[in-house]
């Protein structure tokens, strides 16, 4: 992948925005998170999926941007295909941050329920 450095830069920015709670992440399935955005009139999904793999023991991540109206996959970056440690670390950080935020949401709900019971 030629422009990988630029992609890494953008994903870094996305991580910062996520840390600052500027991104409304949603959970599609236990290992895939996404958020919606618009490019002109086109609705796009930006997703991050954790992938198990027998080829790589620790698995990997897949970052994807999909146009909902056309179904076209505009960006598809897989840490399995792009063997770059910097990208692995970045994707891992982003995934953990998003996953943790969902777990925290669940925990907060749970805490309220427990407090109501007391």
């Amino acid at each position: 992948m030629i422009a990988i450095k630029e992609y890494i830069e953008n994903i870094n920015t996305l991580l910062d925005l996520t840390n600052n709670r500027k991104v409304d992440w949603k959970k599609n399935n236990p290992t895939t998170f996404y958020f919606e955005s618009r490019k002109g009139g086109d609705l796009v999904h930006i997703s991050l999926q954790k992938i198990r793999s027998r080829r790589i023991k620790q698995g990997g991540y897949r970052f994807q941007i999909t146009s909902i109206s056309s179904g076209e996959i505009i960006v598809n970056i897989s840490t399995e295909e792009v063997s770059l440690e910097e990208l692995d670390i970045l994707m891992d950080k982003l995934y953990r941050k998003v996953a943790r935020s969902f777990e925290q949401k669940g925990l907060d709900y749970f805490d309220v329920i427990i407090n109501n019971l007391r």
Binding site: N28, N29, H45, R52, R54, Q64, I68
Partner: protein, 213 residues
């Protein structure tokens, strides 16, 4: 008186002597009779092992026993060959089914959805386990079969991790299911192909053995 006694003794002696002679002659007669009878018996009723018919019977009996043993061993050999042939045919049937499974694994649809992937995996799981279960203790194939089972279990786990959570109406993430399972199906295809090679090798070896027999 003395003369009478002497005469009496003389006659008694002569009588005894005559009796002994006659006894001896009788004995000789009996012996001769015995010999004559014995010769007659030998002539009319020879020993069974001296008869021609006995030896014919013995030869036939030995040949029959030999033929029986030979027939038994031939039947045993034929049974073994039939069993081997049966195993070969079964192996060939299994090989055909596994080849079909490999082809299905190789053409996995990139846009496969969760339900289709789950049904596909269940079908593959069921068929592969059924086909390979008779060989799971066979040392030639044990290692490959264990690995195949592990891959199937891992694939199921991985598929479970992309089970959709969101309610209907929301778009699933494109190709998420495919990427979650692709590496396992690819690995499974390779392992089954390896096993197919081993089955084909055994089929060839059985064929060579049967031809030489």
């Amino acid at each position: 008186m003395l003369a009478i006694r002497l005469q009496f003794s003389f006659y008694v002696g002569r009588l005894s002597g005559t009796a002994v002679i006659w006894q001896n002659k009788l004995g000789d007669c009996v012996d001769s009779l015995k010999i004559i009878l014995s010769n007659l018996m030998d002539e009319k009723f020879p020993q069974f092992w001296e008869t021609f018919e006995f030896w014919i019977f013995i030869i036939l009996a030995v040949l029959s026993v030999f033929a029986s043993f030979k027939a038994f061993f031939e039947a045993k050999k034929a049974k073994k060959a039939a069993t081997e042939a049966g195993k070969t045919v079964k192996l060939q049937t299994i090989t055909i089914e596994l080849s079909e499974i490999v082809q299905k694994l190789d053409i996995l649809d990139v846009d496969i959805d969760f339900s289709s992937a789950r049904n596909f995996l269940n079908e593959i799981n069921r068929r592969v386990r059924r086909l390979l279960s008779p060989y799971q203790e066979d040392d030639d194939y044990k290692e490959q079969i264990i690995q195949i089972r592990e891959i199937l279990a891992d694939a199921k786990k991985s598929l479970g991790e992309v089970r959709p959570i969101e309610s209907e109406g929301k778009e699933p993430i494109a190709q998420a299911v495919y990427y979650a399972t692709e590496s396992y199906f690819s690995e499974l295809s390779g392992m089954i192909a390896e096993l197919l090679g081993l089955f084909e090798k055994r089929t060839l070896e059985s064929g060579v053995k049967n031809d030489s027999n």
